[in-house]
């Protein structure tokens, strides 16, 4: 695996020369460029697609009116996503129609892609996530999922950064992450039917219902938090007595959750597959450090291997 984080960007740009330059830029900037047919654009934006930003050409619509209409609808559906405007000659938003100007966060030109790099760094890769943290989270979670679902194969994608706030599936768990160097939440999102299907094909849980899904997701969340603490938080008593909290907003209608910050989120995606039945479960894991993020104080705990007890073993006193 790679420790390098990536992020998906939606490219709404039909220019031939631009496509090549943007593709090269994405390859060099840890971005995964996605394209979508114009007639599918709004449907895709309403679906669960983890995005960091949108690269939008000022010529994407056939007319200025159509261009304005499209970008306003994008902004209405995904207001949290930075939309970066590609212009022919001017790397500023000067002269952009006032009705749509507020929907763009910045502009760039093909002649100077360094401007786009600055915007990407500012809006997507603005928080520094230590490699040991990213790798550790993947390893902890993979280990726990493998233990919990012994009959399933666990795969995970390259960790990535998102700015959207859309909730995947029907069920999610939240647990506060508290340490002296970070404060926020871990969130697991999944689909109820997919887990139920797996549980019901497993002899231990032949008649599972949604409460079993809730309990299982809760326990997985608990186990991951425990692993996180044991690996990244030396002493729980050292947690600063900082009790600042902000309200979380969940909008069920729009499957949207806000943590009161515009910060990008650290995201992991796991797929659990049952080779016997072909069934799969998708699990999204997001870390939102909305209350404190001080990576300069981050430290991975290296324990004396002689003192380590394997999980599940009994240590008698």
């Amino acid at each position: 695996m790679t420790d390098k984080l990536v992020s998906k960007v939606l490219i709404l740009d039909d220019g031939g020369d631009a496509s090549l330059a943007i593709k090269q830029f994405c390859d060099e900037s840890n971005l995964v460029g996605l394209k979508v047919r114009k007639n599918r654009l709004m449907a895709v934006l309403k679906s669960n697609i983890d995005l960091g930003a949108i690269l939008y050409s000022e010529n994407y619509g056939h007319t200025p009116d159509e261009n304005a209409d499209i970008v306003l609808r994008i902004h209405a559906i995904r207001p949290e996503l930075p939309i970066i405007l590609r212009r022919e000659n001017d790397a500023t938003l000067d002269g952009v129609n006032e009705s749509v100007r507020r929907t763009f966060c910045a502009a760039y030109t093909l002649a100077d892609m360094s401007g786009l790099k600055k915007v990407i760094d500012e809006y997507i890769f603005s928080l520094v996530y230590p490699n040991a943290l990213v790798r550790g989270i993947s390893e902890i979670t993979d280990n726990i999922l493998t233990n919990q679902f012994k009959q399933l194969a666990v795969q995970w994608d390259t960790p990535y950064i998102v700015r959207d706030r859309v909730i995947f599936g029907e069920v999610f768990s939240l647990i506060p992450i508290e340490s002296s160097w970070c404060r926020g939440y871990m969130m697991l999102q999944t689909e109820e039917d997919a887990i139920l299907s797996i549980l019901n094909s497993h002899t231990t849980f032949p008649t599972s219902n949604f409460r079993d899904v809730n309990s299982l997701l809760g326990e997985i969340t608990n186990l991951i938090w425990g692993g996180f603490k044991n690996r990244f938080i030396a002493d729980a008593t050292a947690i600063a007595a900082n009790q600042i909290q902000v309200p979380l907003i969940v909008n069920h209608k729009h499957k949207y959750i806000s943590f009161g910050t515009e910060n990008p989120q650290l995201c992991f995606f796991y797929t659990l597959s049952d080779a016997a039945t072909g069934k799969t479960v998708k699990l999204y894991q997001r870390f939102v450090f909305n209350l404190n993020w001080s990576p300069e104080d981050f430290k991975e705990i290296v324990q004396d291997t002689n003192e380590l007890m394997a999980t599940g073993e009994l240590e008698l006193f």
Binding site: I144, G226, G227, T237, E313, E315, L316, F317
Partner: protein, 121 residues
């Protein structure tokens, strides 16, 4: 009469641990949090062993152990913590409260079965 009490707010863990122990011939009861566990220890003098989570709503596992030893003055029942917690400071608090052992989740039944049987013998 039950010999082992499983205390965990997660029904997934309760089902998993209780199912394994029952399949291996042990008598098992369950409680959903420390408060419930404390009440069941008080009500059943035949209990020989408590296997408890630490982080639970209403009453945490270590507080439950402190009350079993203090309020109930039950110093004979064995208590083992089954938890995601693994920090030395947490274990020290457990030792001070009078627990017998510590298991870091996830539960590995076959690895601990013989030890558990000895504790309820």
């Amino acid at each position: 009469m039950a010999k082992i009490l499983i205390v965990d707010d997660s029904s997934t863990v309760r089902d998993e641990v209780a199912g394994f122990l029952k399949d291996n011939g042990l008598d098992v009861a369950t409680a959903v949090d420390g408060k419930d566990g404390l009440a069941k220890v008080k009500a059943d003098p035949g209990l020989k062993l408590v296997i408890s989570d630490v982080n639970m709503p209403n009453m945490d596992g270590l507080t439950m152990v402190e009350k079993i030893r203090g309020e109930l003055k039950n110093t004979t029942i064995n208590v083992i913590m089954l938890t995601t917690e693994g920090s030395p400071s947490m274990k020290e608090r457990g030792k001070a409260a009078g627990i017998k052992g510590w298991i870091v989740k996830p539960f590995n039944g076959p690895a601990v079965l013989e030890s558990l049987k000895k504790l309820v013998a």
